[in-house]
Symmetry: C2
Subunit: 371 residues, 2 copies
């Protein structure tokens, strides 16, 4: 075993995440560690909360970053909102719907699946049919921006539908946040989680999350304890919301939070609407370039995520060998297909800091040479 | 709200954690983020695994860092090892025993408490009595180094006792690892978790963890699914252990792992035995200085943790005001008392990078001025 400091290669990150992290965010993470109960650190946590409210466009009090990656954010939503025998409709149109099902089952809920093909957006009619057939449903859960396929669904209409049938909505926007329009309050979303390593371009390891008053009420009136101490919002609330001195819950990932704070500042400087526009503008440039190379998209135009471009691997190209060449000869990381799409598609991310003309140019040039 | 980069004050961290993080570790965390499936990142994860095996003194295959703080490491052990109606003896001699109880209950187990006073080590006789009275016990869980009191218990004898009664042991060494002797294989410990922000002096946010073959067998032969998807070791095993390409489980906290890698390298350069010795040597210097000031320890000499010095607040000193002065006028963070010891003790950490003569001198000088 070689025993020396790890010096990572310089990559251009254009896969499904992490995206390129800016020098400002890297520098922020290298600032001296201070205590998690230091008054200055607590002020910074308050600022992160406000910046996340800005990013989610919400005034939800219960808005913060879970001290673990996006998948823990998912688990935090399901662990807190699902009780024994609660029926939960899960709209599955890719890899992450299956994970939601696993979550519901582990917390004693009853998942009811509404399936759409991988690459399709979620079909509202099917969801409504399912709600009619299952009037005792408590929650409708779905993915806003499917990282496995690049398909965009409609959280506004899906949440409206859920509310029409007295359900709460749980929304996965791990890849969506800051990349496509999302208005948590205006769309009345009840619980939503994201990740830091996609369109926010911070390092992975934290999960921004937000809960409506209705969701908070359900959590506070639970009949049973949450089946996780680490993710129990009844405990975490007093950590992130406590006035004049927080109660100790766990030791926050100090330096990672420095990085998130800086990444959110950068986003606020750009402006959330401008961030959505940037992602769309750059997507169109990439799309034009890919089309010139004769490459086709998996998802039909109107349902495409600008920040995650799923394209069919051209005929005759060896998936693994081509991606290996991109990485080793061009320092370019793009994503492989997952599940049923493994070996069939590539996923090109244009997220956050990675969404810029230089990256697009390098990506198109490199792909041209390996296909 | 002021909207600017967060520049933390320069503190000397001598509380119960985090400890001072060295420039080398801070620099490591600021290196460019790469993908979590990048072959070079995976090699670094393999190195972390080997360095953790060195630190725990174990050849356990299932040794890695949970992608979340120490409390998630605790939850990972209990979530995976406890099944419905499993009886678990919890030795409680401080704050963290209570958290273990919460964990057992949430995963459907039956906690049986063995209580010792705060500041005492765990009494082996009481544990044996309890094991005799509860022959159907499956697990004995205890804290090696109680962060709330500074008391050291004896994992070797406690694990031996557990094994004599056909139980597995779960050991909390959040504050113990690298600060006091710990030999996971020689002492036959079954499951153990730690944190990065104590004697390892990395930033908080990760939880080093290790499981024996016996523990692994119990996990693989569970009758029910683990009540956490994020912490299910059956899934995480294939992420950290997968040969020739890992299966995707979650996005690892890339930059935090750079920091842990560097912190473990520093520890290996020092040598694990030398690290134990350093903590003891510096403890004795601090102790002598504190005794000269007429300050008394909570824990009796032979059971004291060298890395966490719990001392009685001198008569007439205002706890909060004194700690506030230490922080604001001397940039020195020390810890308050927790639970029944709040307002009665201070906790002075001498962990990892914070365990050095300069810190001790500054600490003694500062305390002298506020008492």
């Amino acid at each position: 075993m070689k025993e020396q400091s790890f010096i990572p290669p310089s990559r251009m990150l254009m896969g499904p995440g992490p995206s390129d992290v800016s020098a400002r965010v890297l520098e922020a993470m290298a600032r001296p560690t201070i205590g998690h109960l230091d008054p200055q650190f607590i002020s910074m946590m308050d600022e992160i909360k406000k910046l996340l409210q800005y990013t989610f466009i919400t005034s939800n009090e219960l808005t913060f970053a879970v001290s673990a990656p996006g998948m823990a954010g998912m688990e935090c939503c399901f662990a807190n909102l699902v009780e024994e025998n609660d029926k939960v409709i899960i709209c599955k149109n890719g890899f992450f719907g299956e994970r939601m099902k696993e979550n519901v089952e582990r917390f004693g809920g009853i998942p009811v699946m509404v399936n759409d093909d991988w690459g399709q957006k979620i079909d509202l009619n099917k969801v409504e049919e399912c709600l009619k057939e299952n009037p005792d449903t408590k929650i409708v859960a779905f993915v806003h921006a499917e990282t496995s396929t690049g398909a965009l669904s409609d959280p506004k209409s899906l949440t409206e539908l859920a509310h029409n049938y007295n359900c709460l909505s749980i929304v996965d926007t791990v890849t969506g946040l800051a990349g496509v329009p999302l208005k948590v309050d205006e769309w009345n979303i009840d619980a939503i989680y994201s990740g830091t390593q996609k369109c926010l371009s911070a390092s992975p390891g934290l999960s921004p999350i937000s809960f409506s008053e209705a969701a908070k009420e359900k959590i506070m009136s639970r009949k049973s304890k949450v089946k996780s101490w680490f993710l129990d919002l009844n405990l975490i609330m007093s950590y992130w919301e406590g006035e004049g001195g927080r109660s100790y819950h766990h030791t926050a990932p100090i330096n990672a939070l420095y990085g998130l704070h800086e990444a959110l500042l950068i986003l606020k400087e750009i402006g959330i609407e401008n961030s959505w526009k940037k992602h769309m503008d750059n997507h169109l440039i990439l799309r034009n370039g890919l089309e010139e190379l004769g490459i086709e998209y998996l998802v039909k135009e109107e349902d495409r995520l600008p920040q995650l471009n799923s394209i069919f691997i051209p005929d005759g190209v060896d998936d693994l060998a081509a991606r290996k060449r991109l990485l080793n000869d061009f320092n370019l990381e793009i994503g492989a297909g997952l599940g049923v799409l493994a070996g069939k598609i590539w996923r090109i991310g244009l997220m956050g800091q990675s969404s810029n003309k230089k990256n697009i140019e390098h990506c198109l040039d490199s792909i041209k040479q390996v296909i």
